[in-house]
């Protein structure tokens, strides 16, 4: 006779979030992406305080001619005669402003605008998409609203918003804060529609699945059902929208500034640096390469972060 042996768990049960973290850690892409993104954040946030050159100072007098159009120091590898100076590691622009300082300063704005606008668009899009997909009664109305927003021309909308809100916003939160809020809201409000349509499409299919029907039949409340059962299953298109959204937001910001509804002209952002340098692309390739690289790198990081997060949150993949 053998006694029935019940195996007692030796380790305490692990929380769900710990599981997710373990899975996330094992995703090397996500880890590298995350670290790199933190590094970029550190550089753009702390960099301007540590770095010795100011982003907006234009040299005057005799210095101007001496300091303008300086090449980056690595340029010396193949062209030792070029105009270089160790004090300006990435060179200067046509007005003698330091490129590295402008990149760091511009990164702050671009990343802040990109993240904030992306989160706003994602929140709006997911919310409207889930509601429209789940509640049949609201579907028609919300999707026609989506059609309306898709059809509205972006430019006149921006012009109207700027006229209506710019002065009052800058009065209440200061000129730069006002512009920031305005830009984030504008980009967010004009880019949630694809996310909403995609999420709704998925929700329409999901809510007929067995597990949702099962959850409904045991009386799960709608809000719980949406949060626990539906949302985790539409996470992957949302993550893709997030990565694409951050790139779009950074670029859109530059075209807003170009129109004169963004930050003041002496306020660098990555999109603007790229835009300004296109004319001199062959003469000074570094001026397009660096901002372009920074935008791409940030977007790649967010993409890998999203990949890792998606894998970590998917219980079917977790632990494999």
């Amino acid at each position: 006779m053998t006694e029935l042996h019940t195996p007692t768990p030796t380790a305490p049960p692990r929380s769900q979030w710990l599981e997710i973290w373990t899975q996330f850690k094992s995703h090397s892409g996500a880890l590298i992406g995350g670290l790199l993104f933190v590094l970029i954040l550190l550089i753009v946030v702390v960099g301007p305080f540590v770095y010795w050159n100011d982003a907006t100072v234009v040299p005057t007098g005799r210095d101007f001619i001496k300091l303008r159009d300086m090449r980056p120091i690595y340029h010396g590898l193949w062209d030792p005669g070029a105009k270089m100076n160790w004090a300006y590691p990435l060179g200067t622009d046509n007005l003698g402003r330091d490129t590295l300082a402008r990149l760091m300063f511009g990164g702050r704005v671009s990343i802040a605008v990109g993240l904030a606008a992306m989160i706003l668009a994602l929140f709006l899009g997911t919310f409207i998409g889930v509601i429209a997909g789940y509640y049949k009664r609201l579907d028609g109305l919300l999707m026609r609203l989506t059609d309306l927003f898709l059809a509205l021309p972006l430019l006149p909308m921006i012009l109207v918003a700027a006229v209506l809100f710019r002065e009052s916003l800058s009065k209440s939160i200061g000129p730069e804060g006002g512009v920031f809020v305005l830009i984030v809201c504008l980009i967010g409000i004009t880019s949630w529609m694809p996310t909403a349509r995609i999420v709704r499409g998925d929700v329409l299919a999901l809510k007929e699945r067995e597990f949702v029907v099962a959850a409904q039949s045991i009386g799960t409340r709608n809000s719980k059902l949406v949060l626990r059962h539906i949302l985790p299953n539409v996470l992957s298109p949302i993550m893709v929208s997030a990565t694409l959204g951050i790139a779009t937001a950074i670029i859109t910001e530059s075209s807003l500034s170009f129109l004169g509804f963004g930050f003041p002209p002496d306020f660098p952002t990555w999109g603007r640096l790229l835009n300004d340098a296109v004319d001199r692309m062959t003469l000074y390739p570094e001026r397009v390469i660096w901002p372009g690289l920074m935008i791409s790198l940030s977007v790649l990081c967010v993409n890998y972060l999203g990949d890792g997060l998606r894998d970590a949150l998917d219980p079917r993949i977790r632990g494999r």
Partner: protein, 586 residues
Amino acid sequence: MQFDEVGQKYKRTIQSDMEREMKIKTLLMGAIAATAFAPVALAERGADGQVNIIYWQAPSILNPFLSGGTKDTEAASLIVEPLARYDETGKMVPWLVNEIPTVQNGGVSADLTSITWKIKSGIKWSDGSDFTAHDVKFTAEYCMHPEGGCAQVTKFEGVTNVEALDDLTVKVTFGAPTPFPYGPFVGGESPILQQAQFENCTGAKAPECTSANFGPIGTGAFVVEDFKPNDVITLVANDHYRDPLKPAFGRVLFKGGGDATAAGRAVMETGEFDYGWNLQLAPDVIAQMEAGGKGKPVAGFGPLLERIMLNNTNPDPELGPDERSVVRPHPFLGDPAVYNALSLAIDRPLLVEIGYGKAGKVGCNWIPAPAAVNSDTFTCDVQDIAAANKMLDDAGYLDTDGDGIREAHGKPMKMLYQTSTNAVRQDFQALIKQWWSEIGIDTELRNISGSVFFGGDPGSPDTFQKFYADIQMYANTFNGTDPQSYLGHGLCEKAPSPANQWQGENISRFCDEAYDALYAELTNTAGADARAEISRRLNDIIVSKGGMIPLVHRGRLSAHANSLGGVKLNVWDSELWNAADWHRIK
């Protein structure tokens, strides 16, 4: 069928461009010989094939009376022509007439109230019919029609009657003595339309005549073959052109759209196009394109002046809509010490070098051209920060709280500096902001899209007429060589305000009794020298009394292919004024 031909021709042009590239050395060595042979190319009409022109603003319509946009007027100048033009030196030359009427030759009446033009005989419209004085008379009626919304109606200002005395004589009568009677029918903005074609298109019906507006019949060297609005025009040589040997080119491909950089690249680097219009690019960008070796830039100077306008009223946002930028004075800009110091702190030669290169000169005067009207009172090509600082110190504007910014009447001297979006202007803003920070004046920069800034929408706070800023930068000019109406922009009564829906031309709201009195004198003075003298004095008043800070006297910079001969850049008239003489250098 026609399209097909154009495509083939276009392709052939590209191929011949490639061949030319191979021959480029031979060409350079034999440059002198080539110029000597150039007239041979004119041996036959249409012998030189196709010429490709690119305008980065695309023409929308070919009837200059309905648009007024430079791109439309210039494209139309290939087709329709005025009675007299300005040449590249700004001199008036007879075009469809025998001579320029003057008081001396009896063409202008002694009391200055009428001018009589005598049309050259034998001129034909491109449909083969005769060009007569009745067409000229009709053109005046067309533009002066009250419901037509004619863009060039100022050309006909003061005209009371236009009559055709006979088939080749037309007399224009003015309501008052007009010292400068060369408004109507002179210059690219005031060409002659054919009566037969536009007869049923006057007044409110003007926009309905699409085919006429898109393909006017003219006396010029070319005829419209196909017009795609805002995109491309194809033209062919006019069979009835008055000179049987011209034009040397049989076809014109006139492409529009894109940006100045792309146009410059297509002419000077890839050689796809022969002529690129108005390349507003930084000098180093132009120089790099020129290194492409396929074409060269040409510059010409008219009266275009890039300037900083000083707001003579108070733009404080706390003021209500009826007072902001309407009530005088400005908190501190009205003080000569302030605006002179601001001007002294600017390094104009550097601005020219950075922004315009060959297409710019230091500008100290509101009216920098023509030469007779250009005042020599001021010099402004030396920057002196120390002197500017001293000027402000002496005037009592001191930095009392030690933040690096001076105070005027207890308030920090901060200014909002706005301009339109344009790479060069944003560079200027950054430079000037830096210089002014060194004399203790803080500047906030703003750039506004040109379509809003220069649009006159009274509902927008961002137009240059509203001037909701302390200072703003833009360029302005006048047509022809007589600055009278341009000088009128300095009159008190022309200041924009809510009362006139912000539609005045006195953007800086300058107001000076002496100026107004002297302007009245100008309107009653005849004789070129006397008029020029008064104009110079008016210029001096505006500049010295704080209407504006002149920055750069800007030229027009265009580029043409090395193989395109006969180009004479004209800033006083259409750039394409002498397209009939253009030819291929072989």
